[in-house]
Symmetry: C2
Subunit: 630 residues, 2 copies
């Protein structure tokens, strides 16, 4: 087995992810550009904001014994520093940089100075002037913070450093095990995260105790130990039903997804098939009934939570950026355990349409929520700390600022999700220009995906004996072709295209994915988008943005003619339809005895652009699902 | 001018409401039954809950000097006692009862004992052990509480009593004027209510100062004096734009509507046409684009607020019961100033479909939110204090329990909204069996409305000279007829049917309103209900409830055939359509390249019941807008 160097490294899986240094993304490619912006702008942006707001100084205050309840930041602000450390660690592993390394070390020193002798580390609890340790399990977020500290340390360790951050994290994890172990405080944290972090820390640092503690937390959950309050129900905390008995994800979306990732990790490491099956069923039902076309999850602003089945409003879609990140965390674990293509399919959808949507092109402002329909243009973001930008405008920072650092750690470690290896060979999962070294292969991937559908994989090195190179054929691709060297191109269906041979340096594989824009129709049970259709192109969900319409046409007055096929265009796609006049109701209410007729309509052709790009050209209105004419 | 005895009595309007004792509703009629249940069950229910929870004892604690911040109830719990006092006052005015009078007096004594020497009266602020007076204008709710105290006192005064509650309220109002008057504390309360209450108190008690203070509060609003916090924006508080500059209601729905009622009252009393026009425009735009078929207002759980134009989801409709009550308050004021039929039209819609929906038949449990679509049956309400029942189940009480007492005061004073008088005669606005004495008329109204469409108005007494009796022909009535004595029936259009003559005792007027069930189509701009239709019958919005379907048919699998006219049925209506099989998507997500086809469908006829009656037969699913087949 190859050494574990990626973000998730199960001890027992047959499929293994790569390390961040195993993949070099072409800096001119879709994701390479984003990694460069992340490294060159976002990391520093996050650091500056947290310094300015005093969230980092909170650690200094604790070290100086000057903590007070009037400290800046929420009780989970420590986690933002840890997520930034994780992002920095992956970035340093991907592309070493002395200045970044110095910033990383300095931040680690400040964090470490706040740690108690027994390993406890928190700036909002457990020190003179602050509430006692673990005095608010529901909303105190102490274990949540610790979980992110562990994930940062795992990233540091997996990128080849067994240094101070790792020591800090191990001491913090030891303290958690001592406090919450068997016979200890029988409690769980209101925000799951410690579970997934403890399993990964156990894997990375070789501490079985951490895994056992994660297992305890997973088993304790769903038994009503958390106090509920108005608007914070047991379901919100996933404390309503034990994980192994639930059939679908519910409550706060990020909480539900982090918990599922941790529970699945526990199941894999303990060979608990019942638990693994339960999480798999929850994933399947959640994706089938509670997930947006973008891969976004979470239908409700209230509770930042999942809705009922089929409750998928476009306008009030919450689709928190962090829920997209968490969904990728879960799907990646399910993939490593099963090797099924549906998981990297969802990862691709979520990467291109949620993770890529959140940050602006300059990497210095972000969407928190990612609605699929914006009726009114948002106001421009101010320079100050923003509320949760509820659609329509990316903001430089938030009062609850979980998303920027979550995007940063995901993009920094993105290379690790591009391929996997197993005993038979290598699987290319995501198509991005660059170079992949794993499983005895060195692959050079050349592509302008997702703008173009041709992917050229050139073998620079390969194992001596026969092996298998598999390419993921996305679920959205009706038909694709694969050609090996001068062989004839063969049609391949969604799933896997396997090429088995003794590969030679110089071998070339050409995958052709169809990028003709296509209609995508919603299930008839989704009330919110009945009578509408979306247009997709490759992995990209497209949208109609007001910026691309004449000023006198409102986005919501466009009706799409489903008899006219959309066609490719440099900006995304073009489609046809009509502009309808705003109907005026006869009565005072917008309801009438007569069925609404769109009598006045003007033929129109319009441009659809990738959803991830929307709102880059100033405040705008936008919609993904367009009502069908007639 | 007749003496003011109803809930709203502008000094300058040409139309005047009635006093609660001017109307006797038949105890077997739709609203008479509800008034009896309100008097016989709801008032006592509210009293018992507030006693049990210690909300009333909060006053005793202040009187004893034992107040603490650990007092039970939110900072606005005092207002529930005041709204109950208002309900009791109207009920005593309508139908005197010694036991109720004793309960009322006892409650007034306990409230009064907590009043400070300078008139300040609050159990959550301003006493040793509590935060200082007016130290949290955004969320402290002190003036909101005082407003409800004033409204209770106005009810007491208008029903003929100038006693202790009135004195308490006057002293409290004096304190407010002293503190917040010109040159005083330049602030407004985060929850409007004091404005409308001060104008009414000024009218009732003849204190122009109170009106002036209300005017100051209205003018101060919209200038950003309230501190905003995450998730509590200036828009939430209507502090974003001055009232006279806004074009539509926005933010927290109850706040917006209470403020509008107060602003309109100020405009009427100060002859401020600009302000009156602004409120009228806001009402028109809000009703045209932000109001549900039920008359419900407020599309968002988050913020309990209005959404954007056309944002009217059925499933997550908030439609807080209190917003329905507040909408009636506003529409009634607009009617009294203008005499336009569109206002009592909306009042009728809201009474039958929001106010009548909230309380259970026994008057001891309530809906807080009133969604138009319930996908999953709610769990039965527990006996304890409930969260905000978010649809599907009426609960006996809530943590924030504004709705029960708001329903109680509205139903107790309902008679006052049944008719109005002006210099030319009487207008019958709402059809309810009973007797009306006003403007020199005594009318006996005989009807089984809304179950039947015949309304017989018998003149028992009339003015000596020629006068006008006008009947409101509801906007929903395509055609109606009126017959006077043995004259031929004449067709009348929506609006007013005026009969002008020298009326004689014994004269009979028969109004026939068409109660054939009818389709009602949503404006095409309401995305959430595209491709659906509702069925109404008379003033009642009907719904499809799972209780009326075979157990193997899900509400959401019914498709309505719009070519088959619905027909009347004892329970409401019957309509036809098909049951569709649940479509299964081909991929993991509920979206596919193929347009969904409903191939398997079984013809079905189904019963639709009045929405106000839903969930009376156990947990159920329900929908008002039904997808159209084909």
């Amino acid at each position: 087995m190859r050494p574990a160097t990626g973000p998730v490294a199960p001890a027992t899986s047959t499929h293994h992810g790569l390390g961040v240094s195993d993949v070099r993304l072409d800096p001119a490619g879709f994701w390479g550009i984003r990694q460069a912006v992340n490294a060159g702008a976002t990391l520093q942006h996050c650091l500056e904001w947290m310094e300015r707001l005093g969230w980092i100084e909170n650690f200094d205050r604790v070290a100086r014994g000057e903590a007070t309840v009037t400290r800046p930041g929420w009780q989970f602000s420590d986690s933002e520093i840890y997520k930034l450390l994780e992002a920095m660690a992956w970035e340093l592993g991907r592309s070493p940089d002395a200045s970044l390394a110095a910033a990383f070390d300095s931040l680690v020193d400040r964090v470490g100075a706040a740690q108690d002798d027994d390993g406890y580390l928190n700036t909002a609890h457990g020190h003179p002037g602050l509430p006692p340790r673990y005095s608010d399990m529901a909303m105190g977020h102490e274990l949540y913070n610790t979980g992110h500290l562990l994930q940062a340390a795992v990233a540091r360790h997996r990128t080849g450093h067994d240094d101070r951050l790792v020591q800090i994290a191990r001491r913090a994890a030891d303290q958690v095990c001592k406090e919450f172990g068997a016979g200890g405080f029988d409690a769980v944290c209101g925000h799951p995260e410690i579970e997934v972090a403890l399993v990964e820390a156990g894997r990375a640092f070789g501490e079985r105790r951490y895994l056992e503690q994660a297992r305890l937390f997973v088993e304790r959950r769903g038994r009503g130990t958390l106090p509920v309050r108005p608007l914070l129900s047991a379901e919100y905390f996933q404390d309503d039903v034990p994980v192994r008995e639930a059939s679908v994800l519910r409550g706060h979306a990020v909480r539900a997804l982090y918990l599922s990732a941790g529970a699945f990790d526990v199941a894999v490491e303990t060979h608990d098939e019942e638990l693994a099956d339960a999480v798999t069923t929850q994933w399947r039902n959640t994706v089938a009934r509670r997930t947006y076309l973008t891969g976004g999850m979470g239908s409700r602003h209230q509770d930042e939570g999942f809705g009922d089945d089929w409750e998928l409003p476009s306008d009030r879609a919450y689709c928190e950026t962090c829920a997209g990140v968490a969904s990728i965390m879960l799907a990646w674990r399910l993939y490593l355990a099963t090797g099924e293509a549906r998981y990297p399919d969802l990862i691709e959808r979520t990467l291109f349409n949620v993770v890529a949507t959140s940050p602006s092109e300059d990497g210095r402002s972000f969407f928190y929520a990612n609605p699929l329909h914006q009726r009114e243009p948002g106001a421009s973001a101010s320079d100050g700390v923003n509320n949760r930008a509820e659609g329509g405008v990316r903001a430089p920072w938030f009062d609850v600022s979980c998303c920027p650092t979550n995007v940063a750690r995901t993009i920094a470690s993105l290379g690790a999700y591009v391929a996997s290896v197993d005993d038979e060979g290598i699987a290319v999962l995501q198509y991005a220009a660059g170079e992949i070294r794993a499983g005895g292969f060195v692959l050079h991937v050349q592509t302008r995906y997702p703008d173009e559908g041709t992917v050229l994989v050139r073998i620079l090195a390969a194992p001596e004996s026969e092996s298998r190179l598999r390419l993921r054929i996305p679920g959205w691709a009706g038909s694709a072709t694969v050609r090996v060297n001068l062989d004839e191109a063969i049609d391949v269906a969604p799933g896997w295209a396997d090429i088995r041979r003794r590969f030679e340096p110089g071998d070339e594989i050409v995958l052709e994915l169809p990028l003709t824009p296509r209609f995508t129709w919603p299930d008839d049970r989704i009330d919110a988008v009945r009578g509408t259709v979306a247009v997709e192109r490759g992995p990209l969900v497209l949208c109609l943005e007001s910026t691309d319409l004449p000023s006198y046409v409102r986005v919501d007055n466009v009706r799409l003619d489903a008899d006219l096929a959309p066609y490719a265009h440099a900006d995304g796609a073009r489609a046809g339809g009509v502009i309808v006049a705003a109907t005026s109701s006869s009565g005072p209410l917008p309801f009438s005895a007569a069925r609404p007729l769109t009598t006045e309509s003007v033929p129109v052709e319009f441009t659809l652009v990738p959803y991830h790009r929307w709102a880059e050209r100033g405040p705008a209105t936008m919609r993904i699902f367009i009502p069908v004419a007639g």
